[in-house]
């Protein structure tokens, strides 16, 4: 089986920057100027889309300041009486959020970095190295995409537990480390690269290792960014596996730790739970908003170097 349906990378090339706002892209062709109605309609639709995305988050933010009796009231109370941080204090006192945050950070940074590296080296091997069974190897890697997570969880738990890796970073990271999606995307992208660059590098006597990191990686920045986004997001938000493999609060990641705020056999304190949800989502949103600018510049400079 092969997923090699097309020769064209499905992912943005350097001139397809997804986030640029006109001014950054430079290459954007002038559209025929349109005036009047379509524009207003466009703005309205855009406003609608933005509102649909933002309003639930605002509701969460407001709820995080509400006391129990402000939440359980009909008709609903839109704005909390005070913006005191008592729910946040409550959430931080109930569970060690600092630890959750550090654990999420470590597993995400280490996990995503290794995963991207594995994807790059595997794709490089499959495209540029000589090996009799490389189609089979590539098939083996991509086929893994079809194996549902839930299938492998019980056997993996047994393995990790036998190794004594419960409550460890390697236990959290290793089982999900292999790169199938990334390898697939990188390969599709590598196939589009001009052979001349690598030829020149080979003539210079650069090793494969050097060729990968000095020549291939810089001109693949957009694809790497796309894979990185997906890897980071999935590592950061992974839920079921960390839930099983960690039983010490000090080693929990944010999504697992958040559920500890739900009360069983009692009344869920929505204010505290929403405060916890804010604590989890807002840092990610801030990083994402900051990073999207960074990614843009990173991609542009990468394109120039290439």
């Amino acid at each position: 089986m092969s997923l090699d349906v097309r020769r064209k990378s499905p992912v943005p090339r350097e001139d397809m920057l997804p986030w640029t706002d006109g001014e950054g892209a430079g290459k954007r062709a002038q559209q025929p100027p349109r005036k009047g109605r379509p524009r207003i309609g466009g703005y309205l639709l855009m406003l609608l889309a933005v509102a649909a995305m933002v309003l639930p988050l605002v509701w969460m933010l407001l709820a995080s300041f509400k006391q129990r009796d402000e939440i359980y009231t009909v008709p609903i109370q839109w704005v909390p009486e005070s913006f005191a941080l008592s729910n946040y204090v409550g959430a931080l006192a109930a569970v060690p959020f600092g630890n959750f945050f550090i654990n999420s950070l470590i597993t995400t940074v280490v996990g995503a970095t290794l995963k991207i590296t594995l994807g790059l080296t595997t794709a490089y091997a499959v495209v540029f190295l000589e090996f009799p069974f490389k189609k089979f190897v590539f098939g083996l890697v991509v086929f893994a995409l079809l194996v549902p997570q839930q299938i492998v969880i019980i056997p993996n738990y047994t393995l990790i537990s036998d190794l004594g890796w419960i409550n460890t970073y390697q236990g959290l990271i290793l089982p999900g480390l292999a790169s199938a999606f990334g390898t697939f995307l990188f390969r599709q992208h590598f196939l589009t690269l001009p052979v001349s660059i690598l030829e020149a590098a080979a003539l210079d006597g650069a090793s494969h290792w050097t060729r990968l990191w000095r020549f291939v990686v810089p001109i693949s920045a957009p694809t790497i960014a796309a894979v990185a986004l997906v890897s980071i997001v999935s590592e950061w938000n992974e839920y079921l596996w960390p839930l099983l493999v960690v039983d010490k609060a000090e080693m929990m990641t944010l999504p697992v730790g958040l559920t500890l705020l739900q009360n069983n056999d009692g009344v869920t304190n929505w204010g505290v739970l929403m405060a916890g949800t804010v604590l989890i989502t807002v840092p990610v949103l801030i990083v994402f908003f900051l990073l999207q600018r960074r990614i843009v510049t990173g991609l542009t400079s990468g394109a120039v170097t290439g």
């Binding site: 738990y157 393995l159 537990s161 036998d162 039983d247």
Partner: protein, 449 residues
């Protein structure tokens, strides 16, 4: 950065790898269950507990029921001061199910705790899986004074003449009413004694207010729990031992009563999401909720809250118990088991069960604790709690068909939701559940007994 992972593999894993590459069926040997061997519960081993020295350190998996982490830590501190045994308190999940998930996944691995939360729907499965130790001999050796446990609460953990857990954070459903609504409707300041009385009172509430008199909760682990009250009160039961009895006239009667108050009298409604929240916000005049919700309800409602026994049915009062006990895993060393047993005894002694109860809202599990100083102080401060404790005397052990059979509670919940939410035919809904539970029993329980 990309050093070969083979460097980190031990010989066994390399062998596994080789086995896989070779497509060998030898893989069955690694991890997972042993196929074809006789399974079933652990047997009371003839451990001579007197000759065992307790371990110096044990691990306890808890979900801190009722946000009790600080309380549990305090009790541990006292225990360590007294015995010198260290107890590692581990947050093994947010609720009973998560702890159970982890405990079952950990089975056979080195990651099994010395003491574990065993809720009313889980301990039996731990038992038939052979994961936990029968406690009678250990309790006898440690002089647990099991006579003093509330007999229903302790009796919940009895099967084939052994007790497999000890009650810890136990609760019952409780009737909560809004005193302001009651006053407006001109009702006496108490819960209705019977469902018949409720039927007389409900029109008065409907006449004086806009709200639904009774809010009913739903969802797994919940509907089929409080419905015990109506079912048993009508003289029915989910099952008698392992035989499902959902087709009896009494059981159908109970389900029809439920439909009558929801669809005909409109004196009850299934909550949109959370019956406790609806009640606290004044959307319903009364509700059935866990005793564990008491402090939350008192904190979130803006009106005076009254509590009472669950209304009686035609055949008298009926109230189930729920919550969790604690069990000792079977495949630990006798030293660890003994230390866990000592801690278990300490944790559930009269003083500590009262201390735990007064801080969480769960029931004191020992009869002698009910009238102790600690609990008296609680009653003085929160008289509503007294009702919950008094009701304990009339509780009944759960039907096996709901709590012992995998999927039992889920199938019953589905049946009740069909009855409550879609006005489904009780006979049909119950028959489907009974068939499914019986099948699950034959497949998942019977072979292990």
């Amino acid at each position: 950065m990309t050093a070969s992972p083979f460097a980190n593999l031990n010989r066994r894993q390399l062998l596994q790898l080789a086995a896989l590459v070779g497509g060998s069926a030898a893989l069955a040997a690694c991890g997972g269950p042993a196929v074809g061997q006789a399974g079933g519960a652990a047997t009371e081993t003839a451990t001579d507990w007197a000759s065992v020295t307790p371990a110096k350190e044990i691990t306890w998996w808890s979900n801190h029921p009722g946000t009790s982490k600080d309380i549990e830590s305090e009790i541990i501190k006292r225990f360590t001061a007294e015995s010198g045994i260290k107890v590692n308190l581990v947050t093994a999940g947010a609720n009973y199910d998560e702890v159970a998930q982890k405990f079952q996944a950990a089975s056979g691995s080195s990651n099994v705790p010395d003491l574990v939360i065993a809720s009313d729907v889980w301990w039996f499965r731990y038992m038939i899986n052979g994961q936990i130790l029968p406690l009678d001999q250990l309790a006898k050796h440690l002089e647990f004074d099991t006579e003093d446990f509330n007999s229903t609460l302790y009796g919940d953990y009895e099967f084939s003449a052994s007790h497999w857990a000890v009650p810890y954070a136990r609760s019952t459903p409780l009737f909560y009413y809004n005193k302001a609504v009651w006053e407006k409707a001109g009702l006496p300041d108490r819960a209705p004694k019977t469902w018949a009385e409720f039927d007389e009172w409900a029109p008065k509430i409907q006449a004086t207010t806009e709200i639904t008199p009774l809010g009913l909760g739903k969802g797994t682990s919940w509907s089929a729990w409080w419905f015990c009250n109506m079912l048993w009160g009508a003289g029915g039961a989910y099952s008698k031992d392992w035989a499902m009895t959902l087709d009896t006239p009494e059981a159908l009667e109970a389900a029809k009563y439920l439909q009558t108050i929801i669809y005909d009298n409109k004196s009850a409604a299934v909550t949109a999401k959370d019956q406790v929240a609806d009640f606290g916000a004044g959307l319903t005049g009364c509700t059935i909720a866990s005793t564990g919700s008491l402090s939350g309800i008192l904190a979130s409602s803006k009106f005076d809250v009254g509590t009472g026994f669950l209304p009686e049915g035609a055949k008298g009062p009926a109230c189930p118990t729920g919550g969790t006990g604690l069990a000792i895993p079977a495949d630990k060393t006798p030293e660890q088991q003994l230390a866990a047993g000592m801690f278990l005894k300490f944790l559930t002694n009269a003083e500590n069960t009262a201390y735990f109860s007064s801080n969480t809202g769960y029931m004191p599990v020992r009869t002698s604790a009910l009238e102790g100083e600690t609990m008296k102080a609680v009653y003085a401060k929160t008289p509503q709690f007294r009702t919950a404790v008094d009701q304990l005397a009339g509780t009944r052990v759960q039907d096996w068909g709901r709590v012992f059979v995998p999927n039992g509670d889920k199938d019953l919940t589905t049946a009740l939701e069909k009855i409550m939410l879609q006005k489904g035919d009780p006979a049909e809904a119950f028959a489907t559940a009974a068939t499914s539970i019986t099948k699950s029993y034959e497949e998942n329980v019977l072979p292990y007994l």
